[in-house]
Amino acid sequence: MSSGIPPFSWNLVTDLRDMWQYNFMRNAFEAATIIAIVAGIIGYFVVLRRSAFATHALGHVGFSGAAGAVLFGVNPVYGLLLFTMSAGTGMSLLGTRATNRDVEIGTVLAFALGVGLLFLSLYTGYATEAYSILFGEVLGISDSSVLFTLEASLVVLAVLVLVYRPLLFASLDEDVADAKGLPMRFLSLTFMLLLAVAISIAVQVIGVLLIFAMMVTPAAIAVRLTKRPMTAVVVSVGVALFASWAGLFIAWYEPYPVSFFIVTIAFCIYVAVRAAQALSARLFHRVVRPLGSGGPIPRDSLQAGASRPIPRPSDPVPTETEPAG
């Protein structure tokens, strides 16, 4: 879209004002802003609950919902909502955490994609519909879609305010939260439904295939920069906002897809943060591992094999004869 528009100037405010003279550009910025906020917050819980694969899968399930909606001439976002919320409910029934359910989720995911393909082949319209579901079409968002996105987001944020602390507790320390009487299944279901709504609206901007860039990458960056949940949520939202605004901004001047720029910016920040942390760890030879530098946890720390005693040389008891169980 480089024809007939004012060229890039270093006065970014003027540039934005130029862009915002166009309705579709205003809509794009509005929708991207709302979605970045919701995705940034929900994404923190995705990372905390290790539900990244479930997020990816929900996006794909949403694809067949959107394709079905297109086939029946309905707004794709309703198909997305129906399918992702149903699948989210199903996943939460698999267990309080969808962590170790890769095989089940993957099986459903493949089936959903197949159904989506069938819907698309039955649809006699243009292939651009499929393209926009898969990769997002932020420049084609209508006024009513922006309004719907805002309404859905307000519902998500209102529910989040109500469940924030219990959901954080249940996500971080499942066993204690359960013993303390929190309704774990209800919280799990609530989270999956919030995730489903967030994905359904985010698809408009970024598409089902690139949903990770909005829902997971910003939060993954945030947890490497701060260990405080509230701060992490703010950083996550900040990264999502920056990536989507910068993506839209660059795409205004360059003839390449917005989604590509958003994904690339998020990816570059992620790589930069990891590289900087790896470098600082190497430079300072810190005994305590910095946040997220990976590496094995110390042997005497929590381990899956915690139930088996480790022979201790300092122990006066002969290790061959097991002391009391």
Binding site: L168, G181, K227, D300, S301, S314, P323
Partner: protein, 267 residues
């Protein structure tokens, strides 16, 4: 029953417990009184954690009567502080320990708005009581086993519980760290009159402080003072095969023979 029944925190009578159709142990009778420090000992799979799940109201007994603070256990009892064997916290958990302890205080409250100051003070008190004040700013993912256990202890203490259930807090700690942690816990038991049940593999770091032992093995439960339970006669009766309890010059205990009788220690 004795007149001391009011001070009884836990009372089990003819208790049968298990999972689905498999009974783990049966016909158990035991009581724990207020302010007692009790070790729960036994081989893997004997049903030590099951006992905790029972007390927490997460699981129901098949048969018999179990009372905690005089009533059948219910999930979410605020008088109980619980340190489970964690599966969900590891080196990927990028959260500072102070936040985890605070959630122990406020994590069950819904909706916005309540006193942050109360939460902050409660967390600071609990961290101090667990000897973990200097760990508050540290990320749980970067902690050693001993540090983590202190933070978990603080999280359990934050609501000023009257009963502490500690599941294998000494697992994977070296002998020095074990003894230090036991000292801290024993201090809490004595100073705050917190009744404490601690599941352990090795009784030796604990033995100086214990009031009582609950020994679970072979589908049965034996209970009493350490000096009466940890004898060759009592454990032979429990396992049903010859078991010998040996003591070294420093009064460390070695139990010989029981594990072969049970057979699932190395599964």
């Amino acid at each position: 029953m004795q007149p001391s029944v009011d001070a009884e925190v836990i009372r089990a009578e003819h208790l049968d417990v298990g999972y689905r159709d498999k009974t783990v142990w049966q016909d158990a009778d035991f009581g724990v009184r207020r302010g007692e420090f009790v070790a729960v000992i036994g081989p893997n799979g004997a049903g030590k954690t099951t006992l905790f799940r029972m007390l927490l109201g997460l699981q129901r007994p098949f048969r018999g009567d179990l009372r905690v603070f005089g009533t059948p256990p219910t999930r979410g009892n605020r008088k109980i502080g619980y340190v489970p064997q964690r599966h969900t916290i590891d080196h990927e958990t990028h959260v500072e320990s102070d936040k985890l302890v605070r959630l122990g205080f406020s994590g069950t409250r819904w909706g916005p708005g309540f006193s942050l100051r109360a939460e902050k003070e409660a967390a600071a008190d609990a961290l101090a009581a667990a000897g973990a004040t200097d760990l508050g700013r540290k990320c749980v993912g970067a902690m050693s086993g001993g540090e983590l256990q202190r933070v978990f202890l603080a999280e359990a203490l934050v609501g000023n519980p009257e009963l502490l259930l500690l599941d294998e807090p000494l697992a994977n700690l070296d002998i020095r760290r074990s003894r230090e942690l036991v000292q801290t816990i024993n201090g809490l038991v004595r100073a705050r009159k917190v009744t404490t049940l601690l599941v352990a593999h090795d009784i030796n770091p604990l033995i100086q402080c214990l009031d009582k032992v609950i020994y679970i093995a072979n589908g049965k439960v034996a209970t009493g003072a350490p000096s009466t339970v940890l004898t060759s006669e009592s454990l032979t009766a429990l396992y049903g095969v010859p078991v010998e309890v040996l003591r070294d010059s420093r009064n460390n205990i070695v139990i010989v023979g029981g594990e072969e009788g049970h057979g699932d220690e190395h599964e």
